[in-house]
Amino acid sequence: MPSGDKKKRKKPSPKKSELDSALDQVGDESAAAAMKEFQDLLREAEGDASELVRQNADELERRLVLLKNQEIDKEDFDYFVENQKRDLRVFVDSQPAQAQERAEKLTLHVLEIAATKVVPVLIAMI
């Protein structure tokens, strides 16, 4: 469940990540708003009580940095996102009804924003 077990909850790091530094450079107003929405959701996911939600957020951030650094390409990134989605659908469906919306927002929705809004911005920066 995305909220409950507070023991393993990770505090969001106050230090700017490599990804944050890149996304903060976005000048266009509407793109910057989308990046801010993504960064806020990613921080929320990284501090969630569920290990699977945190693990997904960490994987996503790591792969966005790999993409930005050209260590993987967009095909690889899209393939990994599909893997993550496949793995997460079972998790989201297994959540109690009242927790499903939040679980979906912090997992599948974050992946969707990354693939459709963040990746084009990062590729344009390369």
Partner: protein, 134 residues
């Protein structure tokens, strides 16, 4: 109140069957876990063999290994006695298919990177851990 011998025998019989079926289920699940671990090792070795940056793509060797993998997964699904595990094995087979397709597409164009190989193996380990309920 004392139970009658018949009632006591029925109770003992039910208890014995329950214990025996529990043992069988545990045994079956242990065997099933070993099968999943064997499939994990096969898939990790597959990635190690073909996700090598700069290595010339050998289509015949690749297809032979994919065929070997398909046979292993199909055999595992057919042999699975623990019925709740069958959909899990089907999901793992779907992951193997997706990995093989991506690897073929990238390796045949010489576009394998160390990060791709490393991330693929992380995904395989994560998915198999989830399949084993870890």
């Amino acid at each position: 109140m004392n139970s009658t011998p018949v009632a006591r025998n029925v109770f003992l019989c039910v208890a014995a069957i329950s214990i025996a079926s529990c043992g069988t289920e545990t045994f079956t699940k242990t065997g099933s876990d070993a099968t999943i671990e064997s499939l994990r090792n096969f898939e990790l070795a597959f990635i190690d063999e073909f996700a090598v940056p700069g290595k010339k793509f050998n289509a015949a060797a690749f297809n032979a290994k994919v065929n070997e993998g398909n046979a292993k997964f199909q055999q595992a699904i057919a042999d699975e006695k623990f019925t709740a595990r069958r959909p899990v094995l089907v999901d793992l087979k779907a992951q193997f298919d997706a990995d093989a397709a991506h690897l073929k597409s990238k390796a045949s164009r010489g576009k394998i990177t160390p990060a791709l190989a490393s991330e693929m193996k992380k995904d395989v380990n994560k998915i198999y851990d989830h399949a084993l309920g870890r």
